[in-house]
């Protein structure tokens, strides 16, 4: 199960998909404009996050995510819903 905080997990995933170094990635960064992920790559990132954390996230919800922080909040929401 999860041992790393969600923030850390997503930062590592972004670093896999882009040349950005983990230390440079901030929660307010926009996936597209600041991190250079196009829409397909952004969906791939959210898909990887859902896969790793075993979350059932509908595609519509993922499509509304534009920043790193929103992705983290999305994952938290689904974890909380699962725990409830």
């Amino acid at each position: 199960m999860t041992t790393l905080p969600i923030e850390e997990r997503i930062v590592h995933m972004i670093a896999q998909l882009t040349p950005v170094r983990p230390a440079e990635i901030q929660m307010q960064h926009r996936l597209r404009e600041d991190l250079g992920l196009d829409s397909v790559c952004s969906m791939e990132l959210l898909s990887m996050l859902a896969e790793q954390m075993d979350l059932d996230v509908p595609i519509e919800e993922a499509m509304g995510i534009t920043t790193v922080g929103e992705a983290v909040a999305m994952a938290r929401r689904h974890l909380a819903a699962r725990g409830a």
């Binding site: 960064h29 404009e33 600041d34 397909v40 898909s47 896969e51 059932d56 993922a62």
Partner: protein, 494 residues
């Protein structure tokens, strides 16, 4: 048999110009364009390039205000299809100028830059190229390393190297996709930048030796501490990927039109051959298997042309155009290959001999499945679009095409329910969704074309293609083989 695409413009005036261009191109081709010689000598004769420029072909897509003809995307495609009937290298050289080469400048260039460059380009005195691919960045453009940084006051310094630049040796104007960190406030943004051959630090490398399209120039582009004014950035700084998507949509559509023209040429040569070549006491055309193969090829060619037209109808609707141009590119490049391969096969041993001309058609067709986005990458992306935002489709008055679309929609809904957002990482699922979407889009386009043309021939070709699409879709609608089984086979491979 002249393809309807060759003379079909968006307006009556455009159709008239296209008809006269088609006649001019045909005259020039018969008199001066020698495909086998172009292939052998690996260059298009200067006299042919001059004649094409004289006819205004290099300026067809450039607005009239800058000396061009201001044709619509449909008009540009018509001209490219006509050229490709005669020679693919010529069609690629001109098509590149009309699409990828000048589209960024026309759509996003500042007035001063357009005024300085477009008149020369329209007259064919200057040739344009588009440089995106790098050694480490093919289909994945986000990996490009060419970088342009601001050099106050008002300058840019560009560093990097591009490969596989079509028109490289001929071009004096290059639209380059570069990483532009910080420009326009986008931390990791990209921008399209216009470079001129005369700019300090800009140079091209030698010609590549290629499998096909040997008359079309392909070189590298080197930027060593190149300095240009900031005004060379096209459109919004940092939005280069979005602008490139627009330019690529034009490029893919023009390339698809080239596939239509070449496939037509292959079909014409093959129809003539099977009518006269006799074996076992009968012409080849009398054999049932040959007739079935030719009918399939004719139906594919009909659908290819229909899909190019359907793509052109989306000019001015960038997001839909981007998606549809992917479908057209994949379908037309595969259709071109399939038809040219059949042409070689039905020519028998003669098809393998260069003098027949069909071997050249096959070699020239091969790259179209790779450049402007490798088809497998595009299919997965197309499937991703289809999965994330399913296209709205109004039912057509064609039960077979509607049933095909409905079965694909049902699969898409099933996969979205099963995987949620995780579907976007299921590459083989996206790939098959993409392929199914392409089949359905081509079926719809063929049905709509038949309805518009309203002839028995068009209806028969459309009906045959829809039936073929249904049969080709059937195995893709089945559950895919588990990845574990595939990996097990892969591990056992020698």
């Amino acid at each position: 048999m002249t393809s309807a695409l060759a003379t079909l413009g968006r307006t009556a005036e455009e159709s008239e110009l296209l008809a006269s261009l088609a006649a001019g191109i045909e005259r020039l081709a018969r008199a001066e364009i020698r495909p086998l010689r172009i292939d052998r000598e690996r260059r298009i004769p200067t006299a042919v390039l001059s004649a094409l420029a004289e006819m205004g072909l290099f300026g067809l897509s450039i607005p009239e205000a800058y000396g061009g003809s201001g044709l619509s995307m449909q008009g540009v495609c018509a001209a490219v299809a006509t050229l490709a009937r005669f020679d693919r290298s010529v069609a690629t050289t001109v098509g590149l100028q009309l699409g990828l080469g000048t589209r960024g400048l026309v759509a996003f260039g500042a007035e001063e830059l357009k005024g300085a460059l477009l008149p020369e380009l329209a007259a064919g005195r200057a040739i344009a190229a588009f440089a995106a691919t790098e050694a480490g960045a093919g289909s994945d453009l986000s990996a490009i390393r060419t970088t342009a940084v601001e050099e106050p006051p008002g300058g840019l310094r560009v560093e990097g190297s591009k490969i596989y630049v079509t028109n490289g040796a001929l071009a004096s104007v290059f639209t380059v996709l570069a990483s532009t960190p910080g420009l326009g406030g986008a931390r990791r943004g990209h921008s399209l930048i216009v470079l001129r051959r005369s700019d300090p630090g800009v140079s091209t490398a030698g010609e590549e030796e290629k499998l096909g399209l040997r008359g079309s120039s392909t070189t590298g582009l080197q930027m060593d501490d190149a300095r240009v004014p900031l005004g060379r950035v096209l459109g919004t700084p940092g939005r280069g990927m979005d602008h490139a998507a627009h330019v690529l949509a034009w490029g893919r559509t023009a390339m698809s039109a080239g596939c239509v023209g070449a496939a037509r040429a292959a079909l014409e040569l093959t129809s003539a051959h099977v009518a006269t070549r006799r074996q076992f006491g009968r012409p080849l055309a009398a054999f049932e298997v040959v007739r079935a193969q030719l009918a399939d090829a004719a139906a594919i060619a009909f659908a290819m042309e229909a899909l190019v037209r359907a793509t052109c109808e989306l000019e001015g609707r960038p997001e839909e155009l981007a998606m549809r141009s992917i479908a057209a590119k994949v379908f037309c490049s595969e259709g071109d290959w399939e038809i040219c391969d059949l042409a070689v096969q039905l020519h028998g041993g003669a098809g393998f001999i260069e003098d027949t001309g069909v071997a050249l058609l096959l070699r020239d067709a091969r790259i179209t499945r790779i450049f402007e986005g490798a088809n497998d990458v595009l299919l997965a992306a197309h499937g991703g679009f289809a999965a994330a935002s399913p296209p709205v489709r109004a039912p057509l008055d064609a039960p077979a095409a509607d049933a095909l679309a409905a079965s694909i929609a049902a699969l898409r809904a099933h996969l979205r329910d099963r995987f949620g957002v995780r579907l976007m990482a299921q590459q083989r699922q996206l790939h098959r969704l993409g392929r199914l979407a392409v089949l359905s889009e081509a079926a719809d386009a063929a049905v709509r074309r038949a309805a518009a043309e309203d002839t028995a021939g068009a209806r028969a070709l459309a009906a045959h293609w829809v039936e073929m699409a249904r049969r080709r879709a059937a195995p893709l609608l089945e559950e895919i083989e588990p990845i574990e089984a595939i990996d097990a086979a892969l591990r056992s491979a020698p």
